[in-house]
């Protein structure tokens, strides 16, 4: 069923083919094959330690900064392998943004947090444009109204939920095509979580989204496709509704019904 939907190549933002990943000699991802559709939300679920974080970080080459890793297979982004030799990894990371598990704004002002990515990527020419782009990014992350009067105060004074939305705004500012979320709500309270979930739904219109979550409800209500990982293997990948109502694997059912995890 999922294969039919993900048939048309034009719809695919990313394709993961025969992906193996090792920390030293410890193999953490085993022959993963998965397609990620444009302007859709793909959720990655699975028990902790199964390789979700490792997997999502292979998608924008964030694992490259760790010493002693080995990676095999292809990851296509707009039909081009991001691990090819002629690829500019800095450019890949700008186009494939990332929001981390713990909100990690820079110890700078709110304004500078957003302006940073714009400056290093030379995306703006003058001050006026910079202000404008910062505002657009903050609006995009539904944070503008809350912070517009204190753009020059430290980002560390914001609440956890606001900090995470600031991190989303920061990612939006550099105009990525894909945004990766690694358990973005695990450090947040339910109200802040709801706001971020709502935001992610809105972002889907413009961006392709991959989200790691260990929260079954979140995956079920917020995603279009779900991949279930276990011990580094992709057990099942399907339309979210199918995974949560009629999974093809017994172990998937056991996991989503909370029999282990």
């Amino acid at each position: 069923m999922v294969d039919e939907i993900l048939q048309s190549k034009n719809d695919l933002k990313m394709q993961i083919r025969n992906l193996n990943f090792y920390y030293g000699t410890h193999q953490v991802l085993k022959n993963i094959n998965l397609n990620i559709k444009s302007n859709a939300i793909t959720a990655i679920i699975g028990p902790s330690g199964c390789g979700k974080t490792t997997f999502i970080r292979t998608l924008n080459r964030m694992n490259d900064i760790i010493l002693g890793i080995k990676i095999e297979g292809d990851i296509l982004f707009d039909h081009k392998n991001i691990y090819d030799d002629d690829i500019d990894v800095v450019d890949i990371r700008r186009k494939i943004g990332m929001v981390f598990q713990r909100p990690n704004p820079f110890p700078k002002s709110i304004f500078e947090n957003i302006a940073y990515g714009l400056k290093i990527n030379n995306l703006t020419v003058n001050k006026g444009e910079l202000r404008e782009r910062v505002e657009i990014a903050l609006r995009g992350a539904a944070l503008w109204e809350e912070v517009k009067d204190r753009l020059n105060t430290s980002a560390l004074d914001l609440s956890g939920g606001q900090q995470q939305r600031l991190c989303i705004a920061r990612a939006l500012a550099v105009q990525p095509k894909v945004i990766l979320f690694d358990e973005p709500c695990s450090a947040l309270d339910p109200i802040a979580t709801a706001k971020i979930e709502e935001l992610i739904q809105e972002l889907k219109e413009k961006y392709t989204i991959v989200i790691v979550t260990h929260n079954m409800q979140q995956a079920a209500r917020a995603s279009d496709f779900t991949a279930f990982l276990m011990l580094g293997e992709l057990v099942e990948f399907d339309i979210t509704e199918k995974i949560f109502t009629n999974p093809s694997q017994k172990i998937t059912e056991d996991y989503i019904t909370g029999r282990f995890g």
Partner: protein
């Protein structure tokens, strides 16, 4: 049984408390003696003549006890040392913390630690035998022992302090900041210069201030290589005399209770106040750093 145990714990606790108290007592005692022996100077000359006095001629008749040449000698050599040591020390710290492979990192850290252990008299020796004559030749100076020579050697002594403390500050910058930077498409350099170093800036300030404290209080090296002339310096190529060197040189020849004796204590008070201020600001930056780094 239980109360005996309790008593034992109480005694041990008090012993530790007293030993921690002793450091405060030493500090208070030291400052008390310094000021007790230094303040009587102002019965003989007024504070302004001391602070703004342009000559230090303790054995002339009448003697002059002007602080300026010595204070400027100290500040001059210290400034020179910092101009050299801060860029080098901080760059070395950046290299060790952010760029070196783990193995090179270990070797460099070891080397720097060993550098810290070199006694200052050896630097003085090197200055007299090697660096001084070399500079004299190179720059065609009348004398090789001058402020520049002292500054270069003091820089060598400050670099280990500045490097190792800055390295610690850089290393403790949260990995999450760096990851956030990379994820936005920053290069390694952009991340180091625009995220890591600013996040460590108050820790680096602490390192610089403590390095400065090390230099300002240094006696043996400057005594040996700075040239020893108690005149207000106009260039780095001129011999100078620091507060520390003056005390070390002259303390032995003064009569207890003489004006000269009080004057030496008075300049020691000035040095003490400067060092205290440096350490307090270092602590302040350290406190700030601990608050912002997670």
């Amino acid at each position: 049984m239980k109360s005996k145990q309790h008593l034992k714990e109480k005694i041990i606790k008090n012993i530790f408390f007293l030993s921690s108290l002793s450091s405060i007592l030493f500090l208070l005692g030291t400052s008390f003696i310094l000021f007790k022996e230094g303040l009587p100077l102002f019965r003989e000359i007024d504070l302004k003549t001391f602070l703004w006095g342009k000559s230090w001629y303790p054995t002339y008749n009448p003697p002059e006890f002007g602080l300026l040449p010595l204070l400027l000698g100290t500040l001059w050599t210290t400034l020179g040392a910092l101009i050299i040591a801060v860029p080098l020390g901080v760059s070395a710290a950046i290299y060790i913390s952010e760029l070196a492979t783990p193995k090179i990192k270990d070797y460099l850290k070891l080397a720097i630690e060993m550098l810290t252990g070199v006694p200052s008299v050896i630097y003085g020796f090197l200055g007299i035998v090697v660096l001084g004559p070399w500079l004299q030749n190179l720059l065609d100076l009348p004398i090789g022992l001058c402020a520049l020579t002292a500054s270069l050697l003091l820089a060598l002594m400050a670099i280990p302090t500045i490097t190792s403390l800055s390295e610690e500050a850089l290393f403790s910058v949260s990995k999450e900041y760096k990851e956030a930077s990379y994820a936005l498409g920053a290069t390694r350099w952009e991340t180091i210069i625009k995220v890591t170093v600013p996040a460590a800036s108050s820790g680096i300030s602490t390192a610089v201030l403590l390095g400065m404290g090390r230099v300002i209080g240094e006696t043996m090296t400057v005594l040996m290589v700075a040239g020893g002339a108690a005149v207000i310096p106009h260039s780095f190529l001129q011999p100078v005399r620091t507060i520390t060197a003056t005390i070390a040189l002259e303390m032995g020849e003064t009569v207890v209770g003489s004006v000269h004796y009080y004057a030496l204590f008075a300049i020691a008070c000035v040095l003490f106040i400067i060092s205290l201020a440096l350490n307090l600001s270092a602590d302040y930056f350290l406190y700030k750093f601990r608050r912002t780094s997670r």
